[in-house]
Amino acid sequence: MENVVECINLTHYYGKKMVYENLNFNIKRGSILGLLGKNGAGKTTTINIINGFLTPKSGKCMILGEDSRYLSSKTKAQIGYLIEGHVQYAFMNIYQIEKFYSGFFPNWKREAYFDLMAKLKVTPKQKISTMSCGQRSQVALGLILAQDPELLVLDDFTLGLDPGYRRLFIDYLRDYAKETNKTIFTTSHIIQDMERLIDDCMIMDYNRVLAYMPVKKFLNEFKEYTIELENPDIEVELEKPIVNLEKMHNKLEIYTYASPEEIKGYLDAKGLAYKNFQEVEMSLEDAFIGLTGKY
């Protein structure tokens, strides 16, 4: 399967502050990759590089076979871009903005846009600036659907959406992408509901990638175990096979890719007395917090 996005050895710094070094990832046609990370982890930087708004210190991104720094008009027409916060030309109303964008895209699908707009309770002359965040998200989504691009680049689209709109956005997007074999690259720091959308996840912390694999594999392999320590004052070291630890009083949460037997063996080898060893089922959000930490 061909790669729609191919990022090779991306390295970027803001002044002396490293964002990441040698970041590699690719997105196959028809798949949905979620770049998940806390605020400041480098998500928008990556989006800016992909869209050609930022030149990386080194490395490059190939988008539909073209270097992202020199995207042709033809390739840009194949990339649907949603800015963080569903930013659009807020001084227009829904008819004006459709009229504006339709002038740039020969294969513009106005029905797709107006089908979605029909569901919004907005007046014909209402400016986008006076709409709720949820309504604005639908306008931005409708415009992307009308553009009908090969690749959708969505920057933190969940930001500001209430649970209903978030679910609506995700379900609409997922159905559309799978029915039409579209490729999606999305970033988010709100992980709730993301497992409904993405096929692969790349979880980033400051300066590094913590996990990059299919979501199902990640949820199958990444585990949380809880134990109660006999001695609450004891310090447990963060070392292999443990990926992360969260300790509250005598309760210890252990995040790892290891099996229960391996962890029990490790705890025994360290001479830690404990009780109530339990494996906890995790959602993607739980796993994300487990991997990146609460702080």
Binding site: N48, Y81, I83, Y89
Partner: protein, 222 residues
């Protein structure tokens, strides 16, 4: 594509353009109402004497109006582009980034120049009714740098608004203020006669400055 660009740009500047046009027309009418008042009701002889002998500029109220026109149109056109970094949407459109920005600037320039041309036309046309050709010509030479300052202000403010960083913006503002000051140097009516073409040359130089702001934005200065 050009039609779509004009459509969007006009939505942004429609209100401010029409408002400025109205204000400018009222000011020109106001200038000649005053001239009429001076000539008919008050002492016409001393008024003539003031214009001919003492070089009084009877239209000094017009001095900064073109500058304000250029400034406000540029602000109305480009501030909405930088709010929430909406310029990204524009640069992402399937066309050459430099070309689209130049087309936007060209349209803004066209609107600014059209408004200023209406003012100038009215000003000279009404002036011809009250004054002989020689005075109208000197009035043109006096006001032309002010009108050129309006066009220069449009290009400069567009460039400054699109600049991604505040530090640079402030530096450019200081430079812009000094640059625009050149257009207002002449003390006497018509004293900038021989500077009009150099002024046009300077404006031509800064007319593409917005491309530098866009270049900086695309290099990642945000």
């Amino acid at each position: 594509m050009l039609k779509a660009i004009i459509y969007k740009e006009w939505i942004k500047i429609k209100k401010v353009s029409l408002f400025l046009l109205l204000i400018g027309v009222l000011i020109v009418i106001g200038i000649y109402s005053n001239v009429r008042h001076e000539l008919i009701i008050k002492d016409a002889e001393s008024y003539w004497n003031g214009i001919l002998q003492q070089r009084t500029i009877y239209f000094s109220v017009l001095k900064f109006i073109p500058l304000i026109v250029g400034l406000l149109i540029a602000v109305a056109q480009f501030v909405p582009e930088i709010v929430d970094k909406r310029i990204k949407l524009t640069l992402h459109l399937p066309t050459n980034e430099e070309t689209i920005v130049l087309k936007m600037v060209l349209f803004g320039f066209f609107c600014t120049a059209s408004i200023l041309a209406v003012f100038m036309g009215m000003f000279l046309g009404m002036g011809s009714y009250f004054f002989p050709q020689e005075i109208v010509w000197v009035s043109f030479l006096t006001t032309a740098p002010w009108f050129l300052a309006g066009v220069a202000a449009y290009f400069l403010v567009s460039f400054i608004v699109l600049e991604p960083l505040w530090k640079q913006r402030i530096f450019y503002m200081l430079f812009g203020a000094a640059f625009l000051g050149i257009f207002f140097k002449g003390r006497f009516p018509g004293s900038n006669e021989y500077l009009l073409w150099p002024f046009v040359g300077l404006i031509a130089c800064i007319s593409i400055a917005t491309l530098f702001s866009i270049y900086r934005f695309r290099k990642g200065e945000m």
